[in-house]
Symmetry: C2
DNA sequence: CCATGCAGTTAACAACTGTTCTCCCAGTTT
DNA sequence: AAACTGGGAGAACAGTTGTTAACTGCATGG
């Protein structure tokens, strides 16, 4: 290593390696549209790419390892986008529309990634489940942190803010998988918006009638 | 057939058949705790039961067929229980507690069934996905029908009631899978209750500020 | 009481799986 | 220019898979 750079490639040799690695990830993602990760075979992936089965080991220990890499690819870049969207919009109807549009656009552009996350969130491979869970928890914490900066959060406990944020995040995943199962996204986004409106309405009156025994 | 009865057994011969069939379902459910249906092998199941692989075909066409049967076993009996719970409780905090207790009890008594539903709801086997989706839609319609009978639903459109009901149903599934991943159900049920409280609060003020463009 | 139906068995099949070991050769380093 | 490194190929391994075929024996209906 000439200075320990983490960029996409250092020299033509490593460039080719990352190229095959990406080809493996792409092929796996395509195969996973019609099956679960726990039934995805290593040979199946290499065959789709056109490399020898043993080449797989140069990049991943097993298919679970590949799954974890796919989680990063699917959700890694979404953090900044989500936080930016929340920061750019105020509270209320405007933000609801922006959030639903964001998730709808994501599903439209990266349907295979969205399907993978929805499927493997509760899937049969523990390490991948944990990786997704960690990412979603991170999302919730980021959303809660954004909420905390706003005037509407006055009087809210940190725990309640996190509860609210998780509700939003989980609802986004729910909406994404609903979008994947329809060919007319109109009714789905419409319902999603109304549901978010319901939660927002509850948020506004959260402090009205405090509940005892909490 | 001596009168076309659909009961559990008609004679000792069919009784034994249903016994093996149930053994296959039980073994499959146990194996599915650590993998997805799309990777469940027919031989794997028969081996666990202790019968020949070919015996499988006497009961199911393939593992997808077995999966559909598992959906019925997991959710079939829950309809009456859920509706009864809703009918027995009024609106508000009491109902929230009852609903959360119901789902918590279900996960405690039938963890494997709950895991199966959560996992295969978005799993790799289309027919099973559709079977679960149909059941959940049915749940939502039943909950909406119950809501419609109550005074709090005055002024609500049928569509909005269904939207609200789906929110509750989806939240229950969400809560179930959260319960499966923890060993201390306290915090999870606590969060679930607060989230339902949020939705209930939103429900109360739904008609306060009507939204244009709907 | 005998003939039929059918749940379950046994055997064999071609195809597929993950993993190991050995080898090759182009890109990199010295 | 020579030595080295490591991504990838090739072949072989012991197991596994779903599915077919022909069978056996017992409960059942006529």
């Amino acid at each position: 290593m000439s200075h320990t750079l983490d960029g996409p490639a250092r020299g033509a040799r490593q460039a080719q390696k990352q190229k095959t690695r990406q080809a493996l990830l792409d092929a796996a993602l395509r195969l996973l549209e019609e099956q679960s990760l726990s039934s995805l075979g290593l040979r199946e992936v290499t065959r789709a790419v056109g490399v020898a089965p043993t080449a797989f080991y140069r990049h991943f220990r097993d298919t679970a390892d590949l799954g974890v890499a796919l989680v990063e690819e699917a959700l890694g870049s979404l953090h900044t986008t989500l936080v930016a969207t929340l920061a750019a919009t105020g509270d209320g109807e405007e933000r609801i529309a922006a959030a639903v549009d964001l998730i709808a656009a994501y599903v439209r552009v990266y349907p295979a990634h969205a399907r993978f996350i929805a499927r493997e969130q509760h899937g049969g491979v523990k390490r991948v489940r944990e990786a997704i869970g960690a990412q979603l928890t991170l999302f919730a914490e980021e959303v809660a942190a954004q909420f905390a900066k706003e005037p509407e959060a006055a009087g809210w406990s940190e725990d309640d803010l996190l509860m609210l944020a998780r509700m939003y995040v989980d609802h986004m995943v729910m909406t994404a998988s609903a979008l994947l199962e329809t060919d007319d996204e109109g009714p789905v986004t419409d319902t999603a918006r109304r549901q978010l409106r319901l939660v927002s309405l509850g948020r506004l009156h959260w402090l009205d009638a405090p509940v005892r025994g909490n």
